[in-house]
């Protein structure tokens, strides 16, 4: 029996204030990236399963870097592949079972991934010696982990992959939420309907609107621009499947989910996968693509004082994120060309913008900034990825965009200002991981 894949130790995440410049600043680079196609739902075929898409994304990342599979010595995997339902209790589709070797977790390849499943189904990865699962379920967490692993010398050519599954069904509407009882942690929340991130995010945003005398409609230019950027992102869902521009009227007229959060503040779940290949700065220079270096990373885990994160706590937590991220990289707000904070929900993106003070935006000023020219062609090309809202829920478009922008490969999305440094990260104001990218190691 093989030893189970370890979960990343807490020590690799840079959570403390005052750690100073990252010890591996400029010594780690991303050399490859790969994506699968996107689909709104899984159609049940083996070749469009999340597992198949993860394999495809990995192969595309190796191809992009010009690396052969036997050169890869590290594999980092985000296990969870859905924010919604598991595949069980549905039986494993027969086609899928016959196409892929399975592990003792029947969800593997369907709604979860694991190092074991990928190595069984990618026999070409013959030299992988460093394997790890992430601590939390986002690519942002995986990216900072991979950067640290390569910096620490545990792997020299390390893949990192995250898949997303979207089987039939409505997220979160079955299971515990369909019951008449509220056990465990849910006894404090479910009787009141404080379930999922939605009402809590809406509450924080309502506090924000009162504190800064602003309103939900003033988020419209941001969400509309997210879709615009998404339509310029060939890897994304909307560019591939629904290539229509969302309008301000669409945004203002859609239904409330939890007022003041409406449907278009929420990202759409999709089926897809993405992978990156990290290596040492030295090796990256001999690979196919122009290296994009990592200048630093940071992580944040906030503990709420009571039942819910209030706006005061959101601002304190996101201030810490910005402080640690800038500290790790040695850069300041005015040094950052590309800024891709998380947007899935659109109603918390302003907290990051204001905390990081990108383009001088301070507390309470984000909605004014949204009303300015934030197009990629303009003077404030904010969130040039289009994010989850512009491309479907993956929580990785923001990283891909940073890499593409710094390589000069963002196509129609390429910002017209210089693109030499970038920050991306997420997901929530309570817990997030941030990475600082640069086209130069210095």
């Amino acid at each position: 029996m093989a030893t189970p894949t370890p979960v990343a130790p807490a020590s690799v995440y840079r959570e403390e204030v005052g750690l100073g410049i990252w010890e591996h600043r400029g010594k780690v680079a991303v050399a490859g990236m790969g994506h699968s196609p996107t689909n709104r739902r899984w159609d049940g075929k083996p070749e469009t399963s999340m597992g198949a898409y993860a394999i495809l994304a990995i192969r595309n990342a190796m191809e992009d870097a010009g690396v052969s599979p036997d050169q890869v010595d590290g594999l980092i995997v985000v296990r969870a592949g859905t924010t919604g339902d598991a595949w069980a209790p549905r039986p494993i589709p027969e086609d899928f079972a016959q196409t892929y070797a399975h592990t003792d977790n029947i969800e593997d390849g369907l709604t979860t991934l694991s190092v074991e499943w990928l190595l069984q189904n990618m026999p070409e990865l013959t030299n992988v010696s460093c394997v790890m699962h992430t601590r939390s379920d986002c690519m942002s967490n995986a990216v900072v982990l991979t950067a640290q692993i390569v910096g620490d010398g545990l792997a020299k050519c390390c893949l990192v992959v995250k898949g997303w599954a979207n089987p039939e069904g409505r997220y979160g509407h079955g299971g515990a939420n369909a019951l008449a009882v509220a056990p465990g942690a849910s006894q404090w929340t479910m009787p009141f309907g404080m379930v999922s991130g939605i009402p809590g995010t809406a509450f924080g945003f309502e506090q924000y609107c009162r504190r800064y005398n602003t309103s939900h409609d003033r988020v419209a230019p941001f969400v509309v621009n997210q879709r615009r950027n998404g339509l310029l992102f060939p890897e994304g869902f909307y560019a591939q499947h629904e290539p229509y521009q969302l309008t301000v009227d669409d945004y203002l007229q859609t239904r409330w989910i939890s007022k003041p959060m409406s449907l278009h503040d929420c990202d759409r779940p999709i089926q897809t996968a993405g992978a990156y290949l990290f290596t040492t700065a030295e090796r990256a220079r001999d690979m196919k693509q122009r290296p994009v270096y990592i200048l630093g990373h940071s992580s944040q885990r906030w503990t709420n004082r009571s039942s819910i994160q209030t706006l005061d706590e959101i601002e304190a937590s996101t201030d810490l994120m910005a402080r640690k991220t800038y500290e790790a990289s040695g850069l300041t707000a005015k040094d950052i060309d590309v800024f891709n904070p998380y947007d899935g929900y659109a109603l918390f993106t302003q907290y990051y913008l204001e905390a990081f003070q990108w383009h001088g935006v301070r507390r309470g000023e984000a909605h004014d900034f949204y009303g300015d020219d934030i197009r990629v062609e303009g003077p404030h090309p904010f969130s040039s990825s289009g994010g989850n809202n512009g491309n479907g829920r993956t929580r990785f478009w923001m990283h891909t965009d940073c890499i593409q922008q710094l390589r000069g490969q963002a196509g129609a999305r390429q910002i017209r200002l210089k693109a030499e440094t970038a920050i991306s990260g997420g997901p929530t104001p309570g817990g997030a991981d941030w990475t600082v990218w640069s086209s130069s190691p210095d």
Partner: protein
């Protein structure tokens, strides 16, 4: 309105027992003189577990914000949509916050800043819940 009924466990039983007697109590850490809600096995400040006790509250609080739920994932609550989910802060310690549907306050007419007092409607023959009502 019908809601999922909380299931008391070893940690929360004193809280729900008090609610059934129409009293609102919270944890208090004697080591750092600090209230705590929801209850935890240890004080989240000093991490000590043996100095936690249950203390009464004033039963009065202030509304600090809200959302109006139109599309809840909680099946039992869906019949009453849209409904308020307010957050109220305890009068004697605003760091302690509770949720409430604000019975008696129409959806989307939440008076932020208003004083509320605890009430204890019956959810089942054996379980009450702590809710909050605007003081008129």
């Amino acid at each position: 309105m019908p809601k999922p009924v909380p299931v008391p466990d070893e940690l929360s039983k004193p809280f729900w027992d008090a609610v059934n007697e129409q009293r609102l109590v919270v944890q208090h850490c004697a080591a750092c003189d600090r209230r705590q809600y929801p209850p935890e096995r240890v004080c989240t400040e000093c991490r000590s577990g043996d100095r936690l006790e249950w203390i009464p509250t004033s039963g009065r609080a202030r509304i600090i914000g809200y959302t109006v739920m139109h599309d809840s994932r909680v099946r039992l609550l869906q019949a009453d949509q849209p409904f308020n989910i307010a957050v109220v802060a305890l009068e004697e310690d605003p760091a302690i916050r509770f949720f409430s549907h604000l019975p008696g306050t129409p959806a989307d007419e939440v008076p932020v800043g208003a004083t509320v007092e605890a009430i204890f409607p019956e959810l089942s023959p054996t379980q009450r819940i702590h809710e909050w009502q605007v003081v008129r």
